[in-house]
């Protein structure tokens, strides 16, 4: 019966094994995922908002993101100078702060990967690949934003908040879906 359902590509929701079961039991996997995702997301963001964690982990990490971004812009011939987390050229200056360091997208990805029913090996592999990929996209974001600010300054505000934040978060969500589809295998039978 389960085989028949899985081969039907237009069946969005498989028929639950016991239609008489209470809501929480029928949707146990979804509810477990959603609860774990919310707890992990809230917990991790609360953790990074602590002063000690911010000063000893997030700020140095943000400094590293700024240095790599500055070096990339230098390679692109932008002649930038670094002042802490500020990247400055003759045309434009940008301060890399929390929110521009890709940590939010990484934590959303981390919470989704850890909440999904998968073996630890797949989770660790996913987290490693995801962290690198999200930072790569974030590097493109910082460089693109700097160039936008330097050459199309009127577009900077919208690009900064709406465009690139959407792109980076969408990337992390799609990365999670692809990871779940390719690398994750459930720990328990999914049907019955």
């Amino acid at each position: 019966m389960a085989r028949k359902r899985s081969s039907d590509p237009v069946s969005p929701t498989p028929v639950p094994s016991d239609p008489e079961a209470p809501f929480w039991r029928k949707n146990r996997r979804e509810l477990t995922f959603l609860l774990a995702f919310v707890v992990l997301l809230g917990g991790s963001f609360t953790l990074i908002s602590l002063n000690w964690v911010n000063d000893h982990v997030i700020e140095p990490f943000t400094g590293g993101v700024a240095r790599v971004s500055g070096a990339t812009l230098d390679l692109l011939g932008q002649d930038v100078r670094m002042q802490g987390t500020i990247i400055r050229s003759g045309k434009f200056a940008v301060n890399i702060r929390n929110g521009c360091n890709g940590v939010e997208a990484m934590l959303i990805f981390l919470a989704a990967v850890l909440a999904f029913p998968a073996p630890w090996r797949a989770r660790l592999l996913g987290l490693a690949i995801g962290a690198v990929a999200i930072q790569a996209v974030n590097l493109v974001r910082v460089v693109a934003l700097f160039l936008t600010g330097a050459y199309f300054p009127s577009w900077f505000d919208a690009s900064h908040t709406v465009v690139w934040q959407t792109v980076v978060i969408l990337f992390s969500v799609l990365l999670w879906i692809l990871w779940a589809n390719r690398l994750a295998a459930p720990r328990e039978p999914l049907v019955g």
Binding site: P14, E30, F33, F45, I169, L178
Partner: protein, 194 residues
């Protein structure tokens, strides 16, 4: 017609569709943003009035994207000049729309129905986020007035709630809602791959 050509996986088709939907959803969102901003400003002002007696908060639209928060009970010299970008509150709707419209193998009627429910939840979320943006400003940004009207616990609670709603939950909401509707489908795909 497609013989010999390897079929893309469900997840890969979803990713491709999401990228394709991004631009049209963006355009629709940009078109509706001025109206939605007005709605959020009015609705969140009314929500704030529920917690006030007498009604003191005024949220005034400022340009296409911003809002200015003022209080009637403050002298003009101490008027709160707190403004926030209303458009930043709800840009996650772009992500939400693209993700919900992109799911392959689901009939259109079902996709739109799910999107409608998800948008409804997101509207309530945006409303509460606006509420907490203003409350956090009252609790932490008005100097002696804040200290006189909010205790340390309230200041921390409003500040942390605003922080959590404004960053992780605003950005994570599309994934959360998508999972609420389509996690079963994703798990089914994982099971087929096994």
């Amino acid at each position: 017609m497609t013989t010999g050509k390897p079929r893309m996986s469900w997840a890969a088709r979803l990713a491709r569709n999401a990228l394709l939907w991004l631009i049209p959803v963006w355009a629709a969102w940009a078109l509706l943003t001025p109206f939605y901003n007005r709605f959020l400003i009015t609705a969140s002002e009314n929500l704030l009035h529920i917690t006030e007696s007498p009604n003191a908060t005024r949220i005034i639209p400022s340009g296409r994207h911003d809002a200015l928060v003022t209080r009637r009970d403050l002298p003009p010299s101490k008027n709160l000049a707190h403004s926030f970008r209303v458009t930043d509150v709800h840009f996650h709707l772009v992500l939400l729309g693209a993700l919900f419209l992109a799911v392959p193998g689901v009939p259109w009627r079902r996709r739109l129905e799910n999107l409608g429910w998800a948008v409804l939840v997101a509207v309530f979320f945006d409303l509460f986020l606006c509420f907490f943006v203003v409350k956090a400003a009252y609790a932490t940004k008005l100097g002696s007035w804040s200290l006189a009207h909010y205790g340390p616990f309230a200041r921390n609670a409003y500040g942390l709630t605003r922080h959590l709603l404004d960053l992780p939950f605003k950005l994570g909401l599309p994934l959360l809602l998508w999972a609420a509707f389509y996690l079963e489908r994703l798990l089914e795909e994982v099971r087929i791959k096994r």
